[in-house]
């Protein structure tokens, strides 16, 4: 009665097979990531120095550092997040907490998700039409940042919406039953318990904004500038575009230079993602319900 039957062995074999299959998939996923990092470190590592990070490019961008591009990327990311984060979270709160469940809301949700899938070059062209030409911002940090904001907005909305929806409805009902307004409920119960998820989504968008080239190359990022931007109405250099330029547009660049730029760019993204994970761990800390 307790002896293993043929069926038991078959279950065991199937279990082993799927375990191996899924494990193999993870391996396939991990190999390119590790190889990219390894190649960048080997080829770009020697280029990295304090001087590389804190000096201007010289001699037709074939020598020197990347400081203006690094600073420009920080400008672009900060300004674009200042636009997309408040707007995106507010929109998500409305869609999740206030909007009635009818076809208009569902249509807006669907449109938002679709917008997240629009290629970045389309956002770039929209940015040129809307911000550079129509609003007369010219090619500037402001126009480029707003274009990046439009691009990241749908994902900020969707990820924030998901974080808000993960708070059980029973918590809201308990609050409403006490006489709390919708806003009091959001402020006291919903936001404190979804902020970790919201911020995670936001920080992931920061790294996306830092890495995009297409949306900024027509709207405010310049190939080379002999000066640093002083306001949001100036043009700027940016790391992603700088990498594109030194890798493909300028002849006679030593091989380690573009690898070094890529390494710095990926470094920024990784620092951001690490920060996001650390933040989430700190806020979630322990299980709350």
């Amino acid at each position: 009665m307790f002896a293993a039957t043929e069926r038991d062995f078959q279950y065991k074999r199937t279990e082993k097979m799927f375990r191996a299959l899924f494990g193999f998939m993870v391996l396939i996923l991990a190999i390119p990531v590790l190889m990219i990092l390894a190649i960048l470190l080997i080829k770009g590592g020697p280029a990295i120095s304090m001087a590389f990070i804190f000096t201007d490019p010289t001699n037709g961008m074939t020598e020197g550092g990347i400081f203006p591009a690094l600073l420009g990327t920080i400008w672009l990311v900060v300004v674009s997040m200042m636009a997309s984060v408040p707007l995106g979270i507010a929109a998500a709160v409305y869609l999740s907490e206030y909007a009635p469940d009818n076809w208009v809301t569902r249509a807006i949700n669907l449109a938002t998700i679709n917008l997240a899938g629009v290629p970045s070059i389309v956002h770039a062209l929209f940015g040129v039409g809307a911000f550079v030409v129509f609003f007369r911002f010219g090619t500037s940090i402001l126009a480029a940042s707003l274009t990046l904001a439009v691009m990241t907005l749908p994902v900020v909305i969707v990820s924030s919406w998901e974080a808000l929806q993960s708070v059980p409805r029973a918590f809201r009902e308990a609050c409403w039953n006490m006489g709390a307004t919708r806003w009091q409920t959001i402020w006291n119960v919903v936001l404190p318990n979804s902020i970790a998820g919201i911020l995670t989504g936001v920080i992931l968008q920061v790294s996306r904004a830092a890495g995009e080239t297409a949306p900024i190359m027509f709207t405010g990022a310049a190939l080379f500038l002999p000066f640093l931007p002083e306001s949001v109405f100036d043009q700027t250099m940016a790391l992603a575009l700088h990498l594109f330029v030194v890798a493909t547009q300028v002849p006679g660049v030593p091989e380690q230079l573009p690898y070094g730029v890529a390494l710095v760019l990926i470094g920024i993204v990784m620092i951001m993602n690490t920060l996001s994970i650390w933040f989430r761990m700190k806020l979630r800390g322990k299980k709350k319900w």
Partner: protein, 269 residues
């Protein structure tokens, strides 16, 4: 505290003969879309009584509670017709729905400990009303937790998460939170569903004490719980309010409707 004692005293003087109507329900019909959850219910609930509401699942008991504190406002497909008068004022004419709801404490079938500290759970309602005085809040926490028979178990860890307490403790926390509203009316919706028998008996003892200070509507699927606690009992069946009578009379078999008698005596289905 003084006003509460005075209120309790007032109602005691009026006595059973001249009972003041706390909540009056006229021609109440509740629909979800086209589905009727409760059809043309009429009943009065008197001040400082425990009104038991019994009936099988899907008979409109919970919808009845939701209509009283206008939770229909938060649900797009729930419509309420008829008139509910609370403290002499139609609930639709209250200056705002939040004032109405803050007078009514609600306890749910499944315990809801909000994911904040025990202290914050109990002080949330006062804080929403703008009370910030630490001494008042401290006093509220001790008073409400004591009345909900939870104080001794949690007094040394008020800064722990309310949502991580055990089920029975969370249910008492929910009651403490409802009491922190200083409600006129306490509505309990099958509170013992997720609570062990010992905790249930403790909560029932609490309710017996609270009766002198507030009106209680006790929706329950345990017929004997209504018998133990309720002064009068209503029987709901398939969206119909079948009858309301003195609990004692109903449980002695003096019902107006045979179905009530069958349900109470467990001869249903």
């Amino acid at each position: 505290m003084v006003s509460q004692a005075a209120r309790a005293g007032d109602s005691a003087k009026k006595g059973a003969a001249n009972r003041k109507v706390k909540l009056s329900v006229r021609n109440l019909t509740i629909r979800y879309g086209d589905v009727v959850a409760l059809n043309n219910a009429n009943l009065d609930i008197y001040e400082n009584e425990v009104m038991g509401v019994i009936g099988p699942a899907n008979s409109g008991k919970t919808s009845f509670l939701n209509a009283i504190n206008r939770m229909s406002d938060m649900r797009s497909n729930m419509t309420v017709e008829g008139e509910i008068t609370f403290n002499g004022v139609n609930i639709r004419d209250w200056r705002n729905v939040y004032a109405l709801r803050s007078r009514i404490g609600v306890v749910f079938p499944l315990p809801v400990g909000l994911p904040m500290t025990i202290y914050d759970n109990v002080t949330l309602s006062p804080r929403l009303r703008g009370i910030t005085d630490k001494r008042v809040l401290d006093e509220t926490v001790e008073r409400c937790l004591t009345r909900a028979a939870l104080w001794d178990e949690v007094k040394d860890r008020l800064n722990h998460l309310g949502s991580m307490l055990s089920g029975g403790q969370q249910q008492r926390l929910t009651i403490a939170r409802a009491l922190s509203q200083d409600p006129d009316l306490l509505m309990l919706d099958e509170f013992s569903i997720a609570v062990d028998p010992v905790t249930t008996m403790r909560i029932e003892d609490v309710l017996k004490e609270l009766k002198s200070q507030m009106t209680i509507i006790l929706v329950t699927n345990l017929v004997q719980q209504a018998n133990r606690l309720a002064d009068r009992t209503s029987f709901f069946l398939n969206g119909e309010h079948v009858e309301t009578g003195e609990t004692e009379a109903l449980f002695e078999g003096r019902t107006q409707d045979q179905r009530t008698r069958d349900y109470i005596e467990g001869r249903f289905g």
